[in-house]
Protein backbone atom coordinates (compact mmCIF):
# COMPACT_ATOMS: atom_id res chain seq x y z
CA UNK A 1 0.00 0.00 0.00
CA UNK A 2 1.32 3.39 -0.81
CA UNK A 3 1.45 6.12 1.73
CA UNK A 4 -1.45 7.93 0.12
CA UNK A 5 -3.60 4.82 0.29
CA UNK A 6 -2.78 4.22 3.92
CA UNK A 7 -3.60 7.75 4.88
CA UNK A 8 -6.84 7.41 2.98
CA UNK A 9 -7.65 4.28 4.93
CA UNK A 10 -6.93 6.08 8.18
CA UNK A 11 -9.25 8.92 7.28
CA UNK A 12 -12.49 7.88 9.00
CA UNK A 13 -10.79 7.18 12.31
CA UNK A 14 -8.62 10.25 12.14
CA UNK A 15 -11.65 12.31 11.23
CA UNK A 16 -13.38 11.15 14.36
CA UNK A 17 -10.32 11.81 16.47
CA UNK A 18 -9.93 15.26 15.04
CA UNK A 19 -13.54 15.96 15.97
CA UNK A 20 -12.98 14.80 19.53
CA UNK A 21 -9.86 16.92 19.69
CA UNK A 22 -11.69 20.03 18.56
CA UNK A 23 -14.54 19.38 20.96
CA UNK A 24 -12.27 18.88 23.94
CA UNK A 25 -10.25 21.94 23.13
CA UNK A 26 -13.44 23.95 22.90
CA UNK A 27 -14.63 22.50 26.19
CA UNK A 28 -11.41 23.38 27.96
CA UNK A 29 -11.53 26.92 26.64
CA UNK A 30 -15.16 27.18 27.71
CA UNK A 31 -14.27 25.99 31.19
CA UNK A 32 -11.64 28.68 31.48
CA UNK A 33 -14.13 31.31 30.48
CA UNK A 34 -16.66 29.91 32.93
CA UNK A 35 -14.02 30.12 35.65
CA UNK A 36 -13.50 33.79 34.98
CA UNK A 37 -17.17 34.75 34.79
CA UNK A 38 -17.64 35.01 38.58
CA UNK A 39 -14.73 37.42 38.82
CA UNK A 40 -16.22 39.60 36.14
CA UNK A 41 -19.69 39.43 37.65
CA UNK A 42 -18.53 40.21 41.16
CA UNK A 43 -16.62 43.26 40.02
CA UNK A 44 -19.47 44.34 37.80
CA UNK A 45 -22.06 44.22 40.56
CA UNK A 46 -19.73 45.79 43.07
CA UNK A 47 -19.33 48.74 40.81
CA UNK A 48 -22.96 48.83 39.81
CA UNK A 49 -24.35 48.73 43.32
CA UNK A 50 -21.48 50.16 45.25
CA UNK A 51 -20.37 53.23 43.38
CA UNK A 52 -23.63 54.96 44.16
CA UNK A 53 -22.76 55.06 47.83
CA UNK A 54 -19.40 56.62 47.24
CA UNK A 55 -20.62 60.12 47.43
CA UNK A 56 -20.89 62.76 50.04
CA UNK A 57 -19.75 61.79 53.45
CA UNK A 58 -19.23 58.12 52.71
CA UNK A 59 -15.60 58.20 53.58
CA UNK A 60 -15.75 60.92 56.16
CA UNK A 61 -18.49 59.84 58.48
CA UNK A 62 -18.81 56.88 60.74
CA UNK A 63 -21.52 54.29 60.53
CA UNK A 64 -24.19 54.55 63.17
CA UNK A 65 -26.61 51.96 64.35
CA UNK A 66 -29.65 54.16 63.85
CA UNK A 67 -32.90 52.71 62.67
CA UNK A 68 -33.84 55.81 60.76
CA UNK A 69 -32.18 58.49 58.79
CA UNK A 70 -28.71 58.61 57.40
CA UNK A 71 -26.90 55.40 58.24
CA UNK A 72 -23.53 57.01 58.02
CA UNK A 73 -20.42 56.19 56.04
CA UNK A 74 -17.55 53.81 56.52
CA UNK A 75 -14.81 55.96 57.95
CA UNK A 76 -14.30 54.04 61.16
CA UNK A 77 -14.36 50.78 59.28
CA UNK A 78 -11.79 51.91 56.77
CA UNK A 79 -9.43 53.40 59.29
CA UNK A 80 -9.99 50.50 61.62
CA UNK A 81 -9.04 48.04 58.95
CA UNK A 82 -5.88 49.96 58.21
CA UNK A 83 -4.91 50.02 61.85
CA UNK A 84 -5.71 46.44 62.70
CA UNK A 85 -4.07 45.06 59.60
CA UNK A 86 -1.20 47.46 60.08
CA UNK A 87 -0.48 46.06 63.51
CA UNK A 88 -0.94 42.52 62.25
CA UNK A 89 1.59 43.24 59.54
CA UNK A 90 4.08 44.55 62.07
CA UNK A 91 3.74 41.28 63.93
CA UNK A 92 3.55 38.82 61.07
CA UNK A 93 6.25 40.12 58.77
CA UNK A 94 9.25 40.22 61.06
CA UNK A 95 8.34 36.89 62.61
CA UNK A 96 7.54 35.36 59.25
CA UNK A 97 10.71 36.57 57.60
CA UNK A 98 12.62 35.50 60.69
CA UNK A 99 11.31 31.96 60.47
CA UNK A 100 12.01 31.88 56.75
CA UNK A 101 15.55 33.09 57.41
CA UNK A 102 16.02 30.34 59.90
CA UNK A 103 14.82 27.79 57.37
CA UNK A 104 17.04 28.99 54.55
CA UNK A 105 20.18 30.05 56.39
CA UNK A 106 20.45 27.73 59.34
CA UNK A 107 17.99 24.91 59.48
CA UNK A 108 18.06 24.06 55.79
CA UNK A 109 17.16 20.39 55.50
CA UNK A 110 17.52 19.37 59.12
CA UNK A 111 14.74 17.39 60.75
CA UNK A 112 13.65 20.33 62.85
CA UNK A 113 13.53 22.63 59.85
CA UNK A 114 11.47 20.16 57.91
CA UNK A 115 9.07 19.80 60.79
CA UNK A 116 8.69 23.55 60.93
CA UNK A 117 8.10 23.69 57.20
CA UNK A 118 5.49 21.02 57.46
CA UNK A 119 3.70 22.77 60.28
CA UNK A 120 3.72 26.06 58.44
CA UNK A 121 2.29 24.38 55.38
CA UNK A 122 -0.40 22.78 57.45
CA UNK A 123 -1.15 26.12 59.05
CA UNK A 124 -2.17 27.51 55.68
CA UNK A 125 -5.01 25.02 55.68
CA UNK A 126 -6.42 25.99 59.07
CA UNK A 127 -9.76 27.76 58.67
CA UNK A 128 -9.57 31.39 59.66
CA UNK A 129 -12.42 31.00 62.11
CA UNK A 130 -10.33 28.54 64.07
CA UNK A 131 -7.65 31.16 64.53
CA UNK A 132 -10.33 33.48 65.81
CA UNK A 133 -11.40 30.84 68.31
CA UNK A 134 -7.82 30.28 69.41
CA UNK A 135 -7.23 33.92 70.22
CA UNK A 136 -10.63 34.19 71.82
CA UNK A 137 -9.83 31.41 74.22
CA UNK A 138 -6.32 32.46 75.02
CA UNK A 139 -6.68 36.21 75.12
CA UNK A 140 -10.30 37.26 75.36
CA UNK A 141 -11.63 34.70 77.79
CA UNK A 142 -8.62 35.22 79.94
CA UNK A 143 -9.35 38.96 79.90
CA UNK A 144 -5.78 39.68 78.95
CA UNK A 145 -5.73 43.48 78.79
CA UNK A 146 -9.45 43.92 78.35
CA UNK A 147 -12.11 41.89 76.60
CA UNK A 148 -12.57 42.52 72.93
CA UNK A 149 -9.82 44.71 71.67
CA UNK A 150 -8.42 45.66 68.32
CA UNK A 151 -4.93 44.39 69.03
CA UNK A 152 -6.25 40.92 69.72
CA UNK A 153 -7.80 41.05 66.28
CA UNK A 154 -4.38 41.94 64.97
CA UNK A 155 -2.85 38.95 66.69
CA UNK A 156 -5.47 36.65 65.17
CA UNK A 157 -4.86 38.09 61.73
CA UNK A 158 -1.13 37.78 62.14
CA UNK A 159 -1.54 34.05 62.76
CA UNK A 160 -3.33 33.86 59.48
CA UNK A 161 -0.81 35.93 57.62
CA UNK A 162 2.21 34.23 59.09
CA UNK A 163 2.29 31.08 56.95
CA UNK A 164 1.80 33.13 53.81
CA UNK A 165 4.75 35.32 54.72
CA UNK A 166 6.95 32.38 55.69
CA UNK A 167 6.28 30.45 52.51
CA UNK A 168 6.74 33.31 50.11
CA UNK A 169 9.77 34.61 52.01
CA UNK A 170 11.42 31.22 51.93
CA UNK A 171 10.99 31.00 48.19
CA UNK A 172 12.46 34.45 47.72
CA UNK A 173 15.37 33.89 50.11
CA UNK A 174 16.27 30.66 48.36
CA UNK A 175 16.53 32.60 45.14
CA UNK A 176 19.37 34.68 46.51
CA UNK A 177 22.38 33.09 44.81
CA UNK A 178 24.53 31.17 47.22
CA UNK A 179 27.59 32.61 45.51
CA UNK A 180 26.64 35.96 46.96
CA UNK A 181 26.55 34.57 50.45
CA UNK A 182 29.75 32.64 50.03
CA UNK A 183 31.59 35.62 48.64
CA UNK A 184 30.63 37.69 51.64
CA UNK A 185 31.51 34.95 54.08
CA UNK A 186 34.81 34.37 52.37
CA UNK A 187 35.63 38.02 52.96
CA UNK A 188 35.38 37.30 56.65
CA UNK A 189 31.96 38.72 57.35
CA UNK A 190 30.12 37.03 60.18
CA UNK A 191 26.94 35.26 59.22
CA UNK A 192 24.60 37.76 60.82
CA UNK A 193 26.17 40.54 58.81
CA UNK A 194 25.81 38.56 55.63
CA UNK A 195 22.15 38.06 56.40
CA UNK A 196 21.41 41.67 57.11
CA UNK A 197 23.65 43.31 54.55
CA UNK A 198 23.58 40.89 51.67
CA UNK A 199 20.75 38.39 51.80
CA UNK A 200 17.92 40.57 53.02
CA UNK A 201 18.61 43.55 50.77
CA UNK A 202 18.85 41.28 47.74
CA UNK A 203 15.63 39.53 48.64
CA UNK A 204 13.83 42.69 49.60
CA UNK A 205 11.68 43.21 46.48
CA UNK A 206 10.41 39.65 46.67
CA UNK A 207 9.81 39.94 50.38
CA UNK A 208 7.78 43.07 49.82
CA UNK A 209 5.57 41.51 47.18
CA UNK A 210 4.99 38.47 49.38
CA UNK A 211 4.04 40.78 52.22
CA UNK A 212 1.61 42.67 50.03
CA UNK A 213 -0.22 39.44 49.30
CA UNK A 214 -0.35 38.62 53.00
CA UNK A 215 -1.67 42.08 53.78
CA UNK A 216 -4.34 41.75 51.13
CA UNK A 217 -5.40 38.50 52.72
CA UNK A 218 -5.48 40.04 56.16
CA UNK A 219 -7.62 42.94 55.01
CA UNK A 220 -10.30 40.64 53.70
CA UNK A 221 -10.78 38.39 56.68
CA UNK A 222 -13.88 38.63 58.82
CA UNK A 223 -14.10 35.52 60.97
CA UNK A 224 -11.01 36.04 63.12
CA UNK A 225 -12.17 39.55 63.93
CA UNK A 226 -15.61 38.43 65.01
CA UNK A 227 -14.18 36.82 68.10
CA UNK A 228 -11.49 39.25 68.94
CA UNK A 229 -12.35 42.77 67.97
CA UNK A 230 -16.07 42.28 67.64
CA UNK A 231 -16.43 45.58 65.87
CA UNK A 232 -17.87 48.89 66.92
CA UNK A 233 -19.50 51.70 65.06
CA UNK A 234 -17.62 54.61 66.41
CA UNK A 235 -14.24 55.81 65.38
CA UNK A 236 -11.42 55.06 67.70
CA UNK A 237 -7.70 55.06 67.34
CA UNK A 238 -6.97 53.10 70.42
CA UNK A 239 -5.95 49.56 69.71
CA UNK A 240 -6.94 48.49 73.17
CA UNK A 241 -10.57 49.04 72.45
CA UNK A 242 -13.04 47.46 70.13
CA UNK A 243 -12.53 48.73 66.65
CA UNK A 244 -14.43 48.61 63.43
CA UNK A 245 -13.10 47.02 60.28
CA UNK A 246 -14.38 46.90 56.71
CA UNK A 247 -15.19 43.18 56.61
CA UNK A 248 -16.96 43.41 59.96
CA UNK A 249 -18.99 46.35 58.82
CA UNK A 250 -20.00 44.65 55.61
CA UNK A 251 -20.93 41.47 57.43
CA UNK A 252 -23.03 43.43 59.84
CA UNK A 253 -24.76 45.39 57.10
CA UNK A 254 -25.65 42.40 54.95
CA UNK A 255 -28.14 41.25 57.51
CA UNK A 256 -29.82 44.61 57.90
CA UNK A 257 -33.43 45.06 56.83
CA UNK A 258 -32.74 48.62 55.76
CA UNK A 259 -31.95 49.06 52.08
CA UNK A 260 -29.70 52.04 52.64
CA UNK A 261 -27.60 49.98 54.96
CA UNK A 262 -27.29 47.23 52.40
CA UNK A 263 -26.28 49.88 49.90
CA UNK A 264 -23.59 50.92 52.29
CA UNK A 265 -22.44 47.32 52.42
CA UNK A 266 -22.00 47.37 48.65
CA UNK A 267 -20.08 50.60 48.82
CA UNK A 268 -17.86 49.27 51.57
CA UNK A 269 -17.33 46.04 49.68
CA UNK A 270 -16.30 47.99 46.61
CA UNK A 271 -13.79 49.92 48.70
CA UNK A 272 -12.43 46.75 50.25
CA UNK A 273 -12.13 44.91 46.97
CA UNK A 274 -10.48 47.89 45.34
CA UNK A 275 -7.83 47.93 48.03
CA UNK A 276 -7.34 44.19 47.94
CA UNK A 277 -7.20 43.94 44.16
CA UNK A 278 -4.71 46.78 43.91
CA UNK A 279 -2.44 45.07 46.42
CA UNK A 280 -2.78 41.77 44.60
CA UNK A 281 -2.22 43.06 41.12
CA UNK A 282 0.75 45.19 42.16
CA UNK A 283 2.32 42.29 44.00
CA UNK A 284 1.79 39.78 41.23
CA UNK A 285 2.87 42.00 38.40
CA UNK A 286 5.95 43.07 40.35
CA UNK A 287 6.95 39.50 41.02
CA UNK A 288 6.41 38.63 37.37
CA UNK A 289 8.63 41.47 36.28
CA UNK A 290 11.39 40.52 38.66
CA UNK A 291 11.23 36.94 37.49
CA UNK A 292 11.67 37.99 33.91
CA UNK A 293 14.44 40.45 34.69
Amino acid sequence: MSAAERIQALAPVSGRRRYTDTMMRGLLLAATIVALIPLVLVIYYLIKRGVGSWGGSFFTSDPNGNFFGNPGGIRSALLGSLEIVGLATLIAIPIGVGVALYLTEYGKQSLFANVVRYFVDVMTGVPSIVFGLFIFIVLVLAHVGGNFTAWKGSVALSLLMLPIVVRSAEVVLLLVPSELREAALALGAPRWRVVFRVVLPTALPGLVTGSLLAIARGMGETAPLLFTTAGAFGLTFSLSQQMNALPLQIYNDILSPRNVVVDRAWGAALALVTLVLILNVVARVASQRSRMA
Partner: protein, 325 residues
Amino acid sequence: MEAGASTVTGGRSLIEPSPAARLPDQVLRWGLLGLAGAILVLIAYFFIRLIGQSGTALDHFGLSFVFGNNWDVSRDIYHGAPLVVGTLITSAIALLIGVPVAVATAIYLTELCPRRLRQPLSMLVDLLAAVPSVVYGLWGVFVLAPKLVPAEKWFAKTFSFIPFIGGGASSVTPTNYFIAGLILAIMILPIVSAIAREVIATVPADNKEAALALGATRWEMIRMAVLPYARPGITGGAMLGLGRALGETIAVVVVIGDAPAIGHHLFNQGYTLASVIANEFGEATGIHRSALFAAGLVLFVLTLIVNIIARGFVARGHRARVPRR
Protein backbone atom coordinates in the same frame (compact mmCIF):
# COMPACT_ATOMS: atom_id res chain seq x y z
CA MET B 1 33.60 29.29 56.25
CA GLU B 2 34.85 30.93 59.39
CA ALA B 3 38.51 30.63 59.85
CA GLY B 4 39.38 28.72 62.95
CA ALA B 5 42.91 27.64 62.55
CA SER B 6 45.38 28.54 65.10
CA THR B 7 48.82 29.56 64.04
CA VAL B 8 51.83 27.32 64.08
CA THR B 9 53.09 28.84 67.24
CA GLY B 10 49.90 27.99 69.03
CA GLY B 11 48.54 31.50 69.33
CA ARG B 12 45.15 32.47 68.02
CA SER B 13 45.13 33.29 64.34
CA LEU B 14 44.44 36.88 63.48
CA ILE B 15 41.52 35.99 61.29
CA GLU B 16 39.72 33.87 63.82
CA PRO B 17 36.80 35.85 65.20
CA SER B 18 36.80 36.43 68.90
CA PRO B 19 34.11 34.75 70.99
CA ALA B 20 32.51 38.14 71.47
CA ALA B 21 32.27 38.69 67.74
CA ARG B 22 30.60 35.35 67.33
CA LEU B 23 27.91 36.28 69.79
CA PRO B 24 25.56 38.10 67.39
CA ASP B 25 25.68 35.09 65.14
CA GLN B 26 24.73 32.76 67.90
CA VAL B 27 22.01 35.12 69.04
CA LEU B 28 20.61 35.27 65.57
CA ARG B 29 20.77 31.58 65.02
CA TRP B 30 19.26 30.51 68.26
CA GLY B 31 16.82 33.40 68.29
CA LEU B 32 15.41 32.43 64.93
CA LEU B 33 15.35 28.80 65.89
CA GLY B 34 13.48 29.69 69.03
CA LEU B 35 11.01 31.69 66.99
CA ALA B 36 10.33 28.79 64.70
CA GLY B 37 9.97 26.47 67.64
CA ALA B 38 7.73 28.89 69.43
CA ILE B 39 5.27 28.72 66.60
CA LEU B 40 5.07 24.97 66.86
CA VAL B 41 4.53 25.24 70.59
CA LEU B 42 1.93 27.95 70.12
CA ILE B 43 -0.17 25.90 67.77
CA ALA B 44 0.00 22.93 70.05
CA TYR B 45 -1.00 25.14 72.96
CA PHE B 46 -3.99 26.55 71.08
CA PHE B 47 -5.07 23.06 70.20
CA ILE B 48 -4.98 21.98 73.80
CA ARG B 49 -6.91 25.00 75.00
CA LEU B 50 -9.54 24.45 72.33
CA ILE B 51 -9.95 20.89 73.49
CA GLY B 52 -10.28 22.20 77.00
CA GLN B 53 -13.06 24.56 76.13
CA SER B 54 -14.91 21.93 74.15
CA GLY B 55 -14.69 19.54 77.03
CA THR B 56 -17.98 20.38 78.64
CA ALA B 57 -20.05 19.84 75.57
CA LEU B 58 -18.18 16.77 74.43
CA ASP B 59 -18.39 15.18 77.84
CA HIS B 60 -22.07 15.87 78.00
CA PHE B 61 -23.06 14.71 74.56
CA GLY B 62 -20.35 12.27 73.68
CA LEU B 63 -20.59 10.80 70.23
CA SER B 64 -24.04 12.21 69.63
CA PHE B 65 -22.32 15.53 69.29
CA VAL B 66 -21.26 14.37 65.89
CA PHE B 67 -23.84 11.72 65.04
CA GLY B 68 -26.99 12.86 66.76
CA ASN B 69 -29.48 14.82 64.72
CA ASN B 70 -30.85 17.53 66.94
CA TRP B 71 -29.36 20.94 67.26
CA ASP B 72 -31.72 22.69 69.58
CA VAL B 73 -30.47 25.92 71.07
CA SER B 74 -33.58 26.63 73.07
CA ARG B 75 -33.27 23.37 74.96
CA ASP B 76 -29.50 23.30 75.10
CA ILE B 77 -29.29 20.07 73.16
CA TYR B 78 -26.36 20.01 70.80
CA HIS B 79 -26.29 16.99 68.59
CA GLY B 80 -24.43 18.21 65.57
CA ALA B 81 -25.26 15.87 62.70
CA PRO B 82 -26.95 18.73 60.79
CA LEU B 83 -23.69 20.63 60.96
CA VAL B 84 -21.54 17.73 59.86
CA VAL B 85 -23.94 16.73 57.10
CA GLY B 86 -24.27 20.29 55.92
CA THR B 87 -20.51 20.68 55.86
CA LEU B 88 -20.13 17.50 53.85
CA ILE B 89 -22.88 18.35 51.40
CA THR B 90 -21.63 21.83 50.64
CA SER B 91 -18.05 20.63 50.34
CA ALA B 92 -19.09 17.80 48.06
CA ILE B 93 -20.91 20.23 45.79
CA ALA B 94 -17.91 22.53 45.85
CA LEU B 95 -15.64 19.69 44.74
CA LEU B 96 -17.99 18.34 42.11
CA ILE B 97 -18.36 21.70 40.46
CA GLY B 98 -15.07 23.33 41.28
CA VAL B 99 -12.47 20.65 40.63
CA PRO B 100 -13.37 19.73 37.04
CA VAL B 101 -13.55 23.39 36.06
CA ALA B 102 -10.29 24.13 37.85
CA VAL B 103 -8.46 21.23 36.23
CA ALA B 104 -9.89 22.09 32.83
CA THR B 105 -8.67 25.64 33.30
CA ALA B 106 -5.26 24.41 34.32
CA ILE B 107 -4.98 22.19 31.26
CA TYR B 108 -6.09 24.97 28.98
CA LEU B 109 -3.70 27.49 30.46
CA THR B 110 -0.65 25.24 30.38
CA GLU B 111 -1.19 23.24 27.21
CA LEU B 112 -3.51 25.02 24.86
CA CYS B 113 -3.49 28.70 25.61
CA PRO B 114 -1.62 31.07 23.27
CA ARG B 115 1.60 31.90 25.02
CA ARG B 116 1.00 35.58 25.33
CA LEU B 117 -2.28 35.08 27.12
CA ARG B 118 -0.98 32.58 29.61
CA GLN B 119 0.31 34.96 32.30
CA PRO B 120 -2.59 37.42 32.26
CA LEU B 121 -5.26 34.71 32.23
CA SER B 122 -3.53 32.77 34.99
CA MET B 123 -3.36 35.90 37.07
CA LEU B 124 -7.06 36.52 36.54
CA VAL B 125 -7.89 33.03 37.74
CA ASP B 126 -5.66 33.57 40.76
CA LEU B 127 -7.45 36.82 41.50
CA LEU B 128 -10.56 34.85 42.29
CA ALA B 129 -8.77 33.98 45.52
CA ALA B 130 -8.21 37.62 46.33
CA VAL B 131 -11.88 38.46 46.70
CA PRO B 132 -12.69 38.47 50.41
CA SER B 133 -15.09 35.87 51.62
CA VAL B 134 -17.55 38.44 52.94
CA VAL B 135 -17.77 39.98 49.47
CA TYR B 136 -18.60 36.60 47.96
CA GLY B 137 -21.27 36.33 50.61
CA LEU B 138 -22.68 39.73 49.77
CA TRP B 139 -22.71 39.05 46.05
CA GLY B 140 -23.96 35.53 46.56
CA VAL B 141 -26.94 36.41 48.67
CA PHE B 142 -28.08 39.50 46.78
CA VAL B 143 -27.16 38.67 43.19
CA LEU B 144 -26.58 35.00 42.57
CA ALA B 145 -29.09 33.40 44.90
CA PRO B 146 -32.21 35.20 43.70
CA LYS B 147 -31.23 34.76 40.06
CA LEU B 148 -30.86 31.03 40.44
CA VAL B 149 -34.18 30.38 42.13
CA PRO B 150 -36.21 29.86 38.94
CA ALA B 151 -33.64 27.43 37.59
CA GLU B 152 -33.51 25.63 40.90
CA LYS B 153 -37.28 25.30 40.97
CA TRP B 154 -37.25 23.91 37.46
CA PHE B 155 -34.52 21.48 38.34
CA ALA B 156 -36.29 20.28 41.49
CA LYS B 157 -39.48 19.70 39.56
CA THR B 158 -37.87 17.99 36.57
CA PHE B 159 -35.71 15.66 38.59
CA SER B 160 -38.12 15.07 41.43
CA PHE B 161 -37.58 11.33 41.13
CA ILE B 162 -34.03 11.64 42.46
CA PRO B 163 -33.96 11.75 46.25
CA PHE B 164 -32.51 14.85 47.85
CA ILE B 165 -31.16 16.38 44.67
CA GLY B 166 -34.58 16.62 43.09
CA GLY B 167 -37.99 17.25 44.47
CA GLY B 168 -39.18 19.82 46.95
CA ALA B 169 -39.80 22.43 44.29
CA SER B 170 -42.16 24.22 46.60
CA SER B 171 -39.66 24.45 49.41
CA VAL B 172 -36.89 26.00 47.35
CA THR B 173 -35.39 28.96 49.18
CA PRO B 174 -32.87 31.40 47.76
CA THR B 175 -30.38 30.47 50.45
CA ASN B 176 -29.67 26.77 50.35
CA TYR B 177 -27.06 24.05 50.24
CA PHE B 178 -26.58 24.32 46.53
CA ILE B 179 -25.75 27.96 46.36
CA ALA B 180 -23.42 27.59 49.32
CA GLY B 181 -21.68 24.79 47.46
CA LEU B 182 -21.55 26.87 44.30
CA ILE B 183 -19.96 29.83 46.04
CA LEU B 184 -17.49 27.45 47.66
CA ALA B 185 -16.68 26.03 44.24
CA ILE B 186 -15.80 29.50 43.03
CA MET B 187 -13.65 30.05 46.09
CA ILE B 188 -11.66 26.84 45.81
CA LEU B 189 -11.20 27.09 42.07
CA PRO B 190 -8.10 29.29 42.20
CA ILE B 191 -6.27 27.02 44.63
CA VAL B 192 -7.00 23.83 42.77
CA SER B 193 -6.19 25.46 39.45
CA ALA B 194 -2.90 26.88 40.68
CA ILE B 195 -1.70 23.56 42.01
CA ALA B 196 -2.91 21.72 38.93
CA ARG B 197 -1.07 24.19 36.73
CA GLU B 198 2.11 23.69 38.69
CA VAL B 199 1.85 19.94 38.49
CA ILE B 200 0.99 19.87 34.80
CA ALA B 201 3.98 22.04 34.08
CA THR B 202 6.26 19.35 35.53
CA VAL B 203 5.19 16.74 33.01
CA PRO B 204 8.37 15.94 31.04
CA ALA B 205 8.31 17.42 27.57
CA ASP B 206 9.86 14.17 26.33
CA ASN B 207 6.73 12.21 26.99
CA LYS B 208 4.53 14.80 25.37
CA GLU B 209 6.72 14.70 22.28
CA ALA B 210 6.64 10.93 22.20
CA ALA B 211 2.85 11.00 22.27
CA LEU B 212 2.67 13.52 19.44
CA ALA B 213 5.22 11.57 17.40
CA LEU B 214 2.98 8.51 17.66
CA GLY B 215 0.31 10.48 15.89
CA ALA B 216 -1.74 11.66 18.86
CA THR B 217 -3.94 14.72 18.59
CA ARG B 218 -3.34 17.41 21.14
CA TRP B 219 -6.13 16.19 23.37
CA GLU B 220 -4.94 12.60 23.05
CA MET B 221 -1.47 13.72 24.04
CA ILE B 222 -2.91 15.40 27.14
CA ARG B 223 -4.86 12.26 27.97
CA MET B 224 -1.88 9.98 27.37
CA ALA B 225 1.10 11.86 28.70
CA VAL B 226 -0.10 14.72 30.87
CA LEU B 227 -3.07 13.66 32.94
CA PRO B 228 -1.81 10.30 34.19
CA TYR B 229 1.46 11.86 35.25
CA ALA B 230 -0.25 14.77 36.95
CA ARG B 231 -2.93 12.76 38.66
CA PRO B 232 -1.45 12.48 42.20
CA GLY B 233 -0.60 16.15 42.27
CA ILE B 234 -4.02 17.16 41.01
CA THR B 235 -5.65 14.92 43.59
CA GLY B 236 -3.62 16.67 46.24
CA GLY B 237 -4.73 20.01 44.90
CA ALA B 238 -8.35 18.92 44.99
CA MET B 239 -7.96 17.86 48.59
CA LEU B 240 -6.46 21.19 49.52
CA GLY B 241 -9.51 22.73 47.90
CA LEU B 242 -11.63 20.44 50.02
CA GLY B 243 -9.85 21.63 53.12
CA ARG B 244 -10.61 25.19 52.17
CA ALA B 245 -14.25 24.41 51.48
CA LEU B 246 -14.70 22.66 54.80
CA GLY B 247 -13.53 25.63 56.77
CA GLU B 248 -15.02 28.51 54.87
CA THR B 249 -17.28 30.47 57.14
CA ILE B 250 -18.50 33.89 56.18
CA ALA B 251 -19.55 33.34 52.60
CA VAL B 252 -21.37 30.20 53.64
CA VAL B 253 -23.16 31.60 56.67
CA VAL B 254 -24.69 34.30 54.53
CA VAL B 255 -25.99 32.03 51.77
CA ILE B 256 -26.91 28.84 53.49
CA GLY B 257 -29.80 30.07 55.55
CA ASP B 258 -28.61 28.78 58.93
CA ALA B 259 -31.32 26.25 59.49
CA PRO B 260 -30.34 23.98 62.38
CA ALA B 261 -31.65 20.85 60.73
CA ILE B 262 -30.75 18.67 57.81
CA GLY B 263 -32.63 20.04 54.87
CA HIS B 264 -34.57 17.49 52.89
CA HIS B 265 -33.60 18.80 49.54
CA LEU B 266 -30.63 20.32 47.83
CA PHE B 267 -32.35 23.66 47.60
CA ASN B 268 -33.28 23.88 51.26
CA GLN B 269 -31.48 25.73 53.94
CA GLY B 270 -28.89 24.10 56.10
CA TYR B 271 -26.00 24.60 58.44
CA THR B 272 -22.29 23.89 58.52
CA LEU B 273 -19.77 23.51 61.31
CA ALA B 274 -18.17 26.82 60.45
CA SER B 275 -21.33 28.80 59.87
CA VAL B 276 -22.93 27.75 63.14
CA ILE B 277 -20.02 29.19 65.05
CA ALA B 278 -20.23 32.51 63.28
CA ASN B 279 -23.99 32.63 63.60
CA GLU B 280 -24.54 31.64 67.19
CA PHE B 281 -21.39 32.71 68.97
CA GLY B 282 -22.56 36.19 69.79
CA GLU B 283 -25.06 35.24 72.45
CA ALA B 284 -23.85 31.81 73.37
CA THR B 285 -23.03 31.01 76.96
CA GLY B 286 -22.23 28.00 79.01
CA ILE B 287 -22.78 24.70 77.34
CA HIS B 288 -23.92 26.34 74.14
CA ARG B 289 -20.62 28.08 73.87
CA SER B 290 -18.77 24.91 74.70
CA ALA B 291 -20.70 23.17 71.95
CA LEU B 292 -19.59 25.83 69.50
CA PHE B 293 -16.01 25.35 70.57
CA ALA B 294 -16.48 21.66 70.04
CA ALA B 295 -17.75 22.37 66.54
CA GLY B 296 -14.59 24.38 65.98
CA LEU B 297 -12.53 21.50 67.26
CA VAL B 298 -14.19 19.03 64.93
CA LEU B 299 -13.63 21.45 62.09
CA PHE B 300 -9.99 21.92 62.99
CA VAL B 301 -9.27 18.22 63.21
CA LEU B 302 -11.14 17.54 59.99
CA THR B 303 -9.27 20.16 58.01
CA LEU B 304 -5.99 19.06 59.54
CA ILE B 305 -6.49 15.49 58.40
CA VAL B 306 -7.57 16.52 54.93
CA ASN B 307 -4.60 18.84 54.61
CA ILE B 308 -2.12 16.24 55.72
CA ILE B 309 -3.43 13.70 53.25
CA ALA B 310 -3.51 16.34 50.55
CA ARG B 311 0.11 17.27 51.07
CA GLY B 312 1.05 13.65 50.82
CA PHE B 313 -0.48 13.56 47.37
CA VAL B 314 1.05 16.81 46.23
CA ALA B 315 4.46 15.65 47.40
CA ARG B 316 4.03 12.46 45.42
CA GLY B 317 3.16 14.53 42.41
CA HIS B 318 6.21 16.74 42.76
CA ARG B 319 8.64 13.94 43.17
CA ALA B 320 9.95 13.39 39.65
CA ARG B 321 9.24 9.97 38.29
CA VAL B 322 12.82 9.25 37.46
CA PRO B 323 13.70 6.12 35.55
CA ARG B 324 15.40 3.58 37.72
CA ARG B 325 18.72 3.29 35.91
